[in-house]
């Protein structure tokens, strides 16, 4: 992937440690420059300059330094930061976490090369996000609508089907009436996971709407630092130069952050919370902030990072810092999973901060925002009723309270639940919400407009 711009081969390797390698006698090599390391067996690895001090350069090797010796290993500096080719040639391709093909095809050719770290988008050129990406997943479309240009993470716990959900979103999402593409960046996935992802996304890939970058759990850890950056660089080009709406799904960001932590430890940096480096916030932001829209430009980049909360702890640095950067979160719950709901979304803990801009009249459906607000408020009341029922017994509840329980049950079984290969249209999703709301007496539905009630509310007795 790296062009051989440099010509000088450096042989003076003085130190090897973890993924780090120190070379001496280098001149004119800049910080953050890309490097290639060639071992005597002819293998080539890629790296990055972490610091330059007089004639010493510290290089981080993405593939690790296993099998690298001081003797006979040479380093060539590229004279520029890490670049990848960008272009529509990526569509339909399956590559590893470094962007090398694993689909038997030739290396991906691009129309030009771009730095993987990207450049900050001028905030005054941003267009506030205002149209939806429809995922075909009711729990998301109805209650936490994903908006083009938004970053909306999925917070999960080990053992929950978040990868299925991520794949389903990648397979089904669309925008109405505009070119669309998906970039799927897998990080630290197991081989069975990779197989499942490839299988579920094969169709979309064959249609030339999908780019897959898959870093497996046994791939070099440092390579994971590169995977999301390549994904975003490819996505930015497809979006802002080819005018597509691009959805980037990144799973699992916890594996990514662990890679950052590992590199930081090798660099002997001062560890912060749970030994993650102090700059983890800025590092994650340098990825997540690459979504958005640009004024006067057709495309958009929307981000769905998926992460597992170690021990289910939302205050763990990875979910915590992600929450501080992203625009809401979709939270999966073990309780919902335990009661057989797929996708096991916890609607009350979830929020799409941009939803009010991307849903409603002219975007999804005119009743959407009111319906969503009403469902949320009734779910929250139903939760209290459940707590009460646990104390005093269900028989002692009032009729209205029992209607709330029936409503919540219907939302969980009919609205939130769906098959992993089922695409629900937004109309169908909202109609299902109305069916659930119709289990409640009309007087309870204070957030819905009279004319909407007149049109869509059909009282139902019992479940």
């Amino acid at each position: 992937m790296t062009r051989w711009i440099g010509t000088v081969e450096h042989l003076g390797i003085t130190r090897l440690r973890g993924p780090l390698l120190v070379v001496r006698d280098v001149h004119g090599v800049g910080w953050d420059e890309s490097a290639t390391v060639r071992t005597p067996d002819g293998r080539v690895r890629n790296g990055l300059v972490l610091s330059v001090d007089r004639d010493l350069a510290v290089v981080q090797v993405f593939e690790g330094t296993d099998g690298v010796g001081v003797e006979g290993t040479s380093v060539v500096f590229a004279g520029e930061s890490t670049h990848v080719p960008v272009g529509e040639g990526w569509l339909g391709r399956v590559c590893n976490g470094r962007g090398a093909p694993i689909d038997g095809g030739p290396p991906v050719a691009g129309v030009r090369r771009a730095p993987v770290s990207g450049r900050p988008l001028n905030p005054t050129r941003r267009e506030p996000p205002s149209e939806p990406v429809l995922t075909g997943v009711s729990a998301i479309d109805a209650l936490t609508t994903l908006v083009r240009g938004q970053k909306l993470p999925v917070f999960s716990v080990a053992g929950l089907p978040h990868l299925e959900l991520a794949t389903q979103i990648a397979a089904q999402s669309t925008v109405r009436d505009a070119p669309f593409a998906v970039v799927f960046a897998g990080m630290g996935l197991t081989h069975p996971d990779v197989a499942a992802v490839r299988d579920a996304l094969a169709e979309r890939s064959a249609r030339g709407e999908l780019v897959m970058l898959l870093n497996t759990a046994d791939d070099p850890v440092v390579e994971r630092i590169l995977t999301p950056r390549i994904a975003l660089t490819v996505a930015e080009h497809l979006a802002f130069e080819c005018g597509r709406h691009v959805l980037v799904v990144m799973a699992d960001m916890t594996s990514y952050a662990e890679a950052v932590r590992e590199v930081s430890a090798d660099r002997e940096e001062i560890p912060g919370r749970r030994a993650y480096p102090g700059y983890l916030y800025s590092d994650l932001a340098s990825l997540y902030e690459r979504c958005g829209r640009i004024r006067g430009v057709a495309g958009s980049v929307t981000l769905v990072p998926v992460l597992t909360m170690p021990g289910g702890d939302i205050t763990h640095p990875v979910p915590d810092l992600t929450g501080y950067i992203t625009e809401g979160q979709v939270v999966l719950s073990t309780a919902a999973h335990g009661s057989g709901i797929y996708p096991p979304v916890d609607p009350l803990g979830s929020l799409s901060r941009l939803m009010r801009k991307g849903a409603g009249s002219g975007r999804t459906r005119e009743d959407h925002l009111d319906v969503a607000a009403q469902v949320m408020s009734c779910l929250s009341r139903a939760r209290h009723v459940r707590e009460l029922a646990d104390l005093i017994g269900e028989e002692a509840l009032s009729g209205t309270d029992r209607a709330y329980l029936a409503f919540a049950e219907d939302v969980e079984r009919r609205v939130l639940s769906q098959r992993p290969d089922e695409t629900r249209q937004i109309d169908e999703t909202l109609d299902l919400c109305w069916r659930a709301l119709s289990l409640l007496p009309r007087r309870e539905l204070t957030m819905l407009a009279e004319d909407a009630l007149a049109r869509r509310y059909v009282a139902r007795t019992g479940g």
């Binding site: 800049g30 972490l50 330059v52 900050p120 005054t124 996000p129 932001a285 340098s286 625009e327 979160q329």
Partner: protein
């Protein structure tokens, strides 16, 4: 905006680059805090340390590609903000370079200057032959805002020393860099420059307080803030810090808002700029944007510029303060600034103190908040700088260093509570944990300014809320039904205060902003209803009947009446009182 001048005498060489930390040799005579231009494109940095001829430089831009051997120019001045009338309505980066002049994607070293075609109308107020001292007005600019901007004698001259006005231009349209007057041999222009780390001088701090009306009831009625005061807003992610700060930026009754987006989201910046453009300032009838200076240093922009942006922002506010204006600095989030401090300290290998932060964190925070104040300016006017900073505690842990230290140095803290936010009670300002050290003095100010009951109202609310919280935990044990009627009314009072008064949706067209009169009317309405309920209990009416009474008119009062409609609230109070009357 900082320009790189060619042909500067001192030229050094880069010897080491590690991210934002650059080491340089060969800059004899360069001093600490001096700005340097690194490499071919002239990346800006600041000298922070010298040892054995090696200068440590904190670079404000991405140093990608910078190599040992690159040339370095010392620019002979400290990091300074380019101040002038062009700031109002503009969007700038952390070094105060106009972002509107920059490209779609930000490139390092591409510091564009203001596209200086703008001209402002200048009217002199001083005549040749007069004597003026530092900070005194030479003339005014443009009259179409709610206030006049002043052009003053540079405040870096010795204070109080009279200088002769040698010449003044006649009234007319001038560009920012044209000489408007010559005073004591120095040309005076609209555009001036000030070192961002040095507080601008003033004559004295003013003792008497005046309220800053924010338009957010939970602040104005419970945890108020005075002009020139300081407040911190700590809260976990999603608890509503940004929404609260943006509401204050839009509706508080200051003259100038400096909104510093420090290490936060690009979409939020785009959003606030667009909103400020479309909203009209009720006082001037012009877009709110024209009273606002936005400094945008989003989380993906270079980290070290965050460190500078806080100081740049407060310098801009002081500049307007010195014209006798009331300025508010809003910094979202100060935690990202502190992280930049930590990042650079760790790159320098400084000994870490708490959680990796440098030992100087507390004093840096203290010094920053000390730049707030309500002052008598050098020119004799009264102006103020109020500072409101968001704090983003990792894991929502309020004992972490930035949150804990900040609370020591601010006059008010509005603690945002995750449970309230989770229950969609916004603004999620907790009544426990929050404080306002201005409240006592402000009660006196309100009394002198037409609201003698402000203090009593606040005290009554506070005790009802505390009492109802206490009873609520009791009710969880024994059940509300088992409690005496008078206590059940206290519980009802707590609910009413929360739902009718403290809760205020930023998204509501009627209620996003609330006038002082409407806020007072809402509390008085709730208190009147609560009092009536208590007397009904005393008269033997069962609590259940009171709880079942329809109080909807009161609960919906805030949303259903206009932002300043105190009469509308009073009418709803009467409806509810009449409804209660039928119970006796």
């Amino acid at each position: 905006m900082v320009a790189v001048t060619a042909g500067t005498a001192i030229e050094g060489r880069v010897v080491k680059v590690s991210g934002s930390l650059v080491e340089v040799e060969g800059l004899p005579g360069a001093v600490i805090s001096e700005v340097v231009a690194l490499g071919r494109v002239g990346l800006l940095g600041e000298i922070v340390a010298v040892a054995d001829g090696v200068f440590t430089v904190q670079a404000y831009e991405d140093t990608g590609g910078l190599a040992p051997g690159a040339t370095v120019a010392a620019l002979g001045r400290p990091l300074s903000a380019a101040l002038g009338p062009h700031l109002l309505g503009g969007v700038f980066d952390g070094l105060l370079r106009p972002l509107s002049e920059a490209g779609e994607w930000l490139e390092p070293g591409a510091g564009a200057g203001p596209g200086d075609t703008l001209r402002w109308r200048f009217t002199p107020t001083a005549a040749p032959g007069a004597d003026l001292a530092a900070g005194e007005a030479v003339g005014t600019l443009d009259g179409d805002g709610p206030f006049a901007l002043l052009v003053t004698v540079p405040p870096d001259l010795p204070p109080g020393v009279p200088l002769a006005v040698e010449s003044v231009v006649p009234a007319g349209e001038y560009a920012a860099d044209e000489t408007l007057a010559v005073i004591g041999g120095r040309p005076v222009t609209m555009a001036t420059s000030w070192p961002v780390r040095r507080p601008r001088p003033f004559r004295a701090r003013v003792d008497e307080v005046a309220a800053l009306h924010t338009g957010q009831r939970v602040l104005d009625l419970v945890q108020p803030i005075a002009r020139g005061s300081t407040a911190s807003v700590p809260g976990g992610f999603g608890t509503g810090k940004t929404m609260l700060l943006q509401q204050i930026a839009k509706w508080c009754d200051a003259d100038v808002i400096v909104y510093v987006g420090c290490g936060e989201r690009g979409n939020e910046m785009a959003d606030i700029v667009e909103e400020l453009q479309s909203l009209v300032d009720p006082r001037s009838g012009r877009p709110l944007r024209l009273r606002t200076v936005v400094i945008a240093n989003t989380s993906n922009m270079p980290m070290m510029a965050r460190e500078a942006s806080i100081y740049t922002g407060v310098t801009v506010a002081e500049y307007f303060r010195d014209m006798g204006l009331h300025a508010v600095v809003i910094a979202d989030s100060t935690s990202r600034w502190a992280e930049a401090l930590r990042e650079f300290a760790s790159r320098r290998g400084a000994l870490p103190a708490e959680e990796g932060y440098p030992a100087g964190l507390a004093s840096a925070l203290a010094a920053f908040y000390e730049r707030a104040g309500d002052v008598r300016t050098l020119g004799g006017g009264r102006g103020s700088v109020t500072i409101i900073g968001a704090v983003s505690p990792p894991g929502g842990d309020m004992t972490e260093p930035v949150t804990a230290h900040t609370q020591r140095f601010v006059r008010a803290t509005w603690m945002l509570d995750r449970d309230l936010a989770y229950a969609r009670h916004y603004p999620a300002v907790a009544w426990e944990g929050s404080f306002s050290r201005d409240a006592g003095a402000l009660a006196g100010w309100y009394a002198r300014n037409g609201d003698p009951t402000w203090g009593r109202r606040r005290a009554r609310m506070g005790s009802l809320l505390a009492e109802s919280d206490r009873l609520a935990s009791l009710a969880e044990l024994v059940g509300e039904g088992a409690m005496p009627g008078s206590e059940r009314v206290v519980l009802l009072a707590g609910r009413l205060l929360r739902d009718c008064v403290l809760r205020q949706s930023a998204l509501s067209p009627n209620d996003g902003f609330c006038s002082a009169a409407k806020g007072a009317a809402l509390v008085d309405a709730v208190l009147a209803v609560v009092d009536r309920c208590q007397s009904l209990i005393e008269a033997g009416v069962p609590a259940t009947r009171i709880e079942e009474a329809d109080l909807g008119a009161l609960v919906r009062a805030a949303e259903a009446t206009g932002p300043a409609d105190a009469e509308g609230v009073a009418a709803r109070r009467d409806t509810v009182l009449a409804e209660l009357e039928t119970l006796s």
